[in-house]
Symmetry: D2
Subunit: 409 residues, 4 copies
């Protein structure tokens, strides 16, 4: 709180917590507050956020509301899916991938308005504070960052509500009690953590899920769909060409009704602790399988295995918040280079929580039926070549084997 | 065929193809043939193989039949699952992991009997020839390897049957026609490829599956089970302690009835081509999720991420047939080192093809509710530490950002 | 020898061995032979190769001689040095990097002339046959490759000379006796192997070196030079701007007189055996140090460490002959992406076999004296941040430590 | 300064700075101070440290002085050299590898004496604070750490001297003025940084070096030595068996007189900034080359390349201070596994700053002259095998090449 701040751009959701932050910034720093509210597909109206900001004394010209869904999916989600990125083998990075975009927008507004500070509503124990702030610093190295949750002395829910009341911040009735878990949502996913989810031995209660039906309640008949890809990105569902956000919305709906994309995970946070979260990524879960499917016939082994080996690092970089880092950009260059011929169509069966690739075809397919049929003929493959191939591949192991015998080691 | 061979140990299944090979070895090389037949859990009686070998003129003392199921699961399958190994992100390596054991047994017999050669029934276009032969050479560098499918001039199904008839090899009626696909099976999995599966755009017909019910035909109620782990290996199901092979058999049964573990994959063979296969790994699919689950609370992030980064390479080594290589043994040492505290219990829900971890607990859990609760208190975590953590992590990106501004790059 | 070949493009040096190959191709395949002779900076006149080809009956329009030195350095050597590539920690890949270029030129000629085959003079135990042929196949999948050393039955030096005499191939006097070692040379390096070098316990005799003076005979005073870089590539020596090949030639001369770049190595060939070689890479050895020097102030840690981790794989790919592979191109995209700001100047001291970076500067330097001075002041760094940084980085190890204490593991 | 501390174990060198810290701990925390002084081979007498501690009021039973040279070399330096570890391609980690040992000793004393805190004399901008504290926390999770340089308000050399004078701490005459650079030393290396070294464009002045003669002043005749290895560790020099510390001392002397092991480096600190340092690692520089030499004939390619790929990560882990982490221990298990047959002898030529391997031999050598000679004969290698080896290795690139032609991509 020691820095002098003139104007701060706040990532503002319109909810109670960021409204408290808004007011706390005004009263603590005595500075002008600019709000930025993004439609990332979280499924909430944005106009109420504008009204609330006005009510809290924000000047109309300081209220920024933007629909960034297309940019989000096109420039963040799809590039990440080109890598088949999964953190710790399972998590599709739905929260991680949204933070850099929000941070970038805040910084753009700060530059335009000459604001010297930015602020966000993430707590001091999570990953999101890191993701926001690393991005802020990367894009505007001299920015001042205000992280209220780390600074203020509001130490309990009661104190927060008291502060809200003291400052005439409206409190919705259902916010009086403690929320049973905390939520993050965007077009890619919805996540929940905390409170009722904290014991990793206890199953996630069904009421926590909001994006998907319970697989047990999903239709008894499978849904078969097709997804078309061009250069690694999906462009059509069931033959209908769609914009990135529209397409992901469509996959989300297909996933939702079929109970697809639920994940109950204990993960390792960048800040050094484990946490347990619940994720719903209906469309993303379908997309991952479909992308792997089209890659399976269009990517060469050398390319595929290099991607697989680098994927965990790429996912970790994004999880940790280093989207705007040279290492992420370098890996992206490598990944994008591999996608030039990842074009074609994949058919999938969706059924009660499962996604199953059942067919794939491509004008650029590297799969050659001539090569695999047992009857000989294909000019490129002679059975006898295999003997030499094996003998030279085994040569070093034969030498090792001889050593073992001679030396008894 | 140029080498002179005195005695050859053949991997013999008792089926038509390896019976033809047996006879071909006798007639072509004029050598003594020793048969080795292993019970790997493929689900076939072994006694008929003995009778058939006798019928084909093999001396009783040259017929070796062994139940290696426990050794297979304990020394090959479980060590591999400690790594969460999946080839190309999906394949659980069911065929790959069995070959080294068979090869090792053949070499042991060859050493005992003073045989100078070994032989197998794998074709010249697949991975298995490589896996067998690389293992043979590693374990007995001076061995002679006979790969009939690469050597003989039997070029069609008709020629094979003709050879069989000419040599009084009994042909089961259902072997007269061409098989619609080829199969490999052991306790870990069953795979099929070829013929009706060759077009990767066409769905795998349901009749190809033999180890699992169709998810659509699985029970409408989920099955909830628990698996206990000790040092990375499963030791009990639903609280009942079992030997490795018994445990995997139990998981296979649980997977089978719930339609779990089907995989339709186009993969990259080591010999340079793509192939399309169908895999059923019911128990293994459950085991992978369970192992990831117990690791999620018992493995430190540093250990977990290192394992994740090295897994693709480890899987590739096994897929390519290099089980008996220094690099596999080095990686195994690394992986095994990580498993010392991977002990505890995981609960899973099995439902219509899906495996879902719903709870995990361990006496060695690294998950600490104290650390993650939002109310402060835990001595180890101070919200204000995060500020320094972020600032130093972002420092290099701030320097980069400054350079970008100054230089316009 | 079974294939029918109409026209073959031979990598022809003009020396005795490739002249024998030329004649052997004519007599064995009865085909038209096209010769390709490249000036890669090996230090030999090319006109004698033309005369010899004419003498052996090659039509003038079938003789191709090209100076490819600039292309070699610009498009192969420099991109590779952007990666700081060293095979097995030491070898600068001087032979490996030249083969793809020669192969590419042969294929271009084959396409232009409608030739159906290519041929090279590499033996059947080395890496070069692989490098040539993998490149041929990648660039012209339907090409026929003739590798005389693997095909003919000329099994000794005597037989080769006899063949030469029988076909009126002139034999230089000094070629009568057996060469004491075999040599490969181009603008990047000169290598020797075989015969007198075969025992790795015995020092390389001084007469084997041809590109460098013995360090003991080098000047007693150091030579100080500067090298300027732009986007990762060297562009000037001592302030004098030069073309790629001219610059490497200049560095070779500086290295030569100072005894720089000798390497005595036992390496692992791709074909499965170890071999002992002697390499002289005078200019390349200087360039590697200089490039690391300029990167040290212009590359961010994230970029630098990612490059370092991937370098061994990149070097192995090139060593094995997979320059024209997707994985090499993907890694190149990653590496090139990192070099955008690798611009500046490095000063080096050359002295009796040693290369020592003594200074580096750049308009894009990320080294900030403000940050490192012990007196505080720089806004970006507060000593107290370090406490939080350390505490969060150590958090997981503290949790592990607690577990160890509690559990006694 | 807020914590209450009863007893603190200080890493105490006996120099002015740690004496000031000692007194500052007493006066600020009012706690009992225990000093630990280690002989790591830094080349200073330890008895004066005892006298000084007594003079500053430390009880005799609270003064711990230990010669840890053998432990240091045997359990830290040699295991690290098994990996050929170099940070950022060049730095031999001389400072990094000593910190964990010192920390471990401090914690052992703290446990024995029931001390609740530890302290060190590293500043708030460097790596050493991290290395100490991460190790402290890993070994004693509940320890209190006091880092005076981050806590006190002594902001300049003048203030430090004033504090010393105020507290009757003796100040050597040459400590009055500002030191021209700061130094760290142990048996592996000596490093310097700061002040006169801060401009990376300016050559390191010769007077900064203390462990090596200037190469220009080294003998005009090379020194030839041999080093014997057993299981990856050096055990003898010139045939004379020595303990680890004695051996490293001997190599240091050989390196010193031949001007070997100087390094002028700009490196990336873990805390996010670049720094320029000067390192002298005479014995270590010889050892690295020798170890690579013996590995070149005793390590299989699979093992060697895996080690090379993982080395940068291993080096980074040690540099960052995570010696006592699961990932370091896992990698160590992998590395140690590879060293079982790394036994034999290497001959090296030392000359004016250069180390050149000139011969290597081993009873376990994998180098086989039979395999590499050009005349055929060795049973394991048939030239014709190479054709099949190449064709199958190239198969995927041929398929890619065909695609490129067909599709024009």
């Amino acid at each position: 709180m020691s820095q002098s701040v003139k104007k701060v751009v706040l990532a503002y959701s319109g909810g109670l917590d960021t409204s408290i932050i808004l007011k706390w910034l005004q009263t603590t720093y005595g500075c002008e507050v600019v709000t930025f509210t993004a439609d990332l597909g979280q499924g909430e109206e944005l106009e109420p956020a504008r009204q609330k900001a006005l009510l809290l004394g924000i000047k109309p010209e300081n209220i920024f509301i933007e629909d960034v869904r297309e940019e989000f999916v096109r420039d963040y989600v799809f590039p990440m899916f080109r890598a088949n990125a999964q953190y710790e083998g399972l998590y599709l990075l739905g929260t991680s991938i949204a933070r850099p975009l929000i941070a970038k927008k805040q910084i753009e507004i700060a530059e335009k308005l000459g604001a010297d500070a930015v602020s966000h509503g993430s707590t001091g124990k999570g990953n999101d504070q890191v993701r926001y702030e690393v991005a802020y610093y990367a894009l505007k190295p001299d920015v001042t960052i205000i992280a209220p949750w780390r600074e203020w002395d509001l130490r309990s829910r009661e104190q927060l509500l008291k502060f809200a009341e003291d400052h005439q911040i409206p409190i919705a009735k259902d916010k009086r009690g403690e929320a049973p878990f905390s939520v993050d949502a965007n077009l890619l996913h919805c996540s929940s953590e905390g409170k009722v989810l904290e014991d990793p031995a206890v199953e996630v209660p069904d009421y926590v899920y909001s994006r998907t039906v319970n697989p047990e309640d999903a239709p008894d008949k499978p849904t078969v769909i097709s997804i078309d890809f061009e250069k690694g990105d999906p462009v059509a569902v069931d033959g209908v060409r769609m914009s990135p956000a529209t397409l992901l919305t469509r996959l989300n709906e297909l996933g939702r009704i079929n109970g697809i994309g639920r994940l109950d995970l204990v993960e390792n946070r960048f800040v050094g602790m484990k946490s347990r979260g619940m994720y719903e990524t209906p469309g993303g879960t379908i997309l991952l399988q479909a992308h792997r499917g089209i890659e399976s016939i269009t990517l060469d082994r050398g390319a595929a295995h290099l991607k697989d080996e680098l994927m965990p690092k790429y996912a970790e970089i994004i999880y940790n918040g280093f989207w705007f880092s040279p290492e992420r950009e370098m890996l992206q260059a490598l990944i994008d280079k591999s996608q030039e011929a990842v074009t074609g169509s994949v058919r999938l069966k969706l059924y009660k929580g499962g996604v199953h690739v059942i067919g794939r075809e491509s004008p650029y397919s590297l799969y050659s039926q001539d090569l695999v049929t047992f009857e000989e003929g294909a000019v490129a493959y002679d059975h006898r070549d295999a003997a030499g191939f094996i003998k030279l591949n085994a040569l070093r192991l034969r030498t090792l084997g001889s050593r073992k015998r001679k030396m008894g080691i």
